[in-house]
Symmetry: none
Subunit: 204 residues, 2 copies
DNA sequence: CCATATACTATACATATGTATAGCTTTCGG
DNA sequence: CCGAAAGCTATACATATGTATAGTATATGG
């Protein structure tokens, strides 16, 4: 990281401490007052330098728009992840650090993109291991691979099905022989793809 | 804590997720826009109620002055979570803030306790919706309810099975008729219970 | 010696933003 | 049937706040 002048360091420290204390960014004028500057422009200049050197980012035009870069955020990541342990050859000790192969976290487990989850009702996807009460994690996207599991809104209802492409639309195939496939005619049906299912989460 | 109306809960949830995403509080008008309110006063009223009920504090007169109370920060802050959206009655708009029912997070979804995850190999639990490659989330504990799914180490191998108690030990029942149940004799078998399965996570 | 960066002052402006006043509708317990 | 609370609309206002223009002074490296 580019080196800071003493003054810039002091201002960065102030912002950091302000975040800790107030859980929000200071305003330009609060910083100015704290340092005895008579003009907010003095602070503006420093912030510009700090942004240029990569220590913070600002969103122009919004109040309290300073954000420290990841590395500077103190006690970040109060790890909400679950360690993955592998097969333990000798039985115990389980959960030894040596055996941790990775972590489960909502951040990375399901890949990038805008994710959301829907609770599944019913047993129409039971043959694909999706049970009543499970959450399916969906990546919001209009594109779904052929024969992939996805979520769509059909005639006012959300549904999880296998998406099979046809010449003029889709066939939605349930994962349970009790239910028939649904032919979608995009001209007569109200139909909107939410996105592909990228994960399943079940809490027991 | 005093109970919230559904709307108040939704607004609190919005603020919480905004904090997570932006590391700052939303403005009154950002909330209003997100919910489709045409007047900022609608939000003001809700914030007043949320403050009165003890879920947040505001500093009057300053921009982005909303702060969540400590308890709410603990469980939501610095946690990557996925919003859960409900069934959408009218089809679109999906992922509208109005439809957010809660969040999926590794912190809270699987309950308290020391959690870890194991990747499942094989199809021995397929009838219980646990597939090859799934992660099972385990709460480390020697106690397993009768006929619950749990993880154990048997003769140097980790295994996921239904635990059925017998007079002198356990019968481990696979969730696939292809495989036979395993009788455990605690005197002759090397046997150690890791804990009950409290969740399943599948990334596709 | 000159360009550049640092480090400010003074003033001004536009808008981002919290908050208030005055209503309206709906729901719900007593 | 009434009153209170929830849940809004419409409008307005004051100020909190980011940002710009213009300028001063000092140091520093090329």
């Amino acid at each position: 990281m580019e080196i800071l002048t003493p003054k810039q360091k002091q201002i960065l420290d102030y912002i950091s401490r302000y975040f800790l204390k107030n859980r929000m960014a200071p305003t330009v004028r609060e910083i100015a007052d704290s340092f005895g500057f008579r003009s907010p422009k003095a602070v503006s200049d420093h912030l510009e330098a700090l942004e240029r050197k990569g220590y913070l980012t600002r969103t122009t035009g919004i109040a309290r728009g300073i954000r420290l870069v990841e590395e500077l955020q103190e006690s970040r990541d109060r790890d909400s992840s679950i360690p993955i342990v592998g097969d333990v050859a000798a039985g115990l000790p389980i959960l030894a650090i040596e055996n941790v192969l990775g972590t489960l976290s909502m951040d990375s487990t399901f890949g990038a993109g805008e994710l959301f989850a829907v609770r599944v009702r019913g047993d129409s996807m039971i043959d694909h291991g999706i049970y009543d009460g499970d959450f399916v994690v969906v990546r919001r996207s209009p594109h779904v691979d052929n024969n992939a599991i996805a979520v769509a809104y059909v005639n006012g209802e959300s549904t999880v099905k296998v998406f099979h492409k046809t010449e003029c639309g889709y066939t939605l195939i349930p994962g349970n022989s009790k239910y028939p496939p649904i032919e979608i005619n995009p001209e007569t049906d109200e139909f909107s793809v939410a996105g592909p299912v990228v994960g399943v989460v079940r809490a027991m």
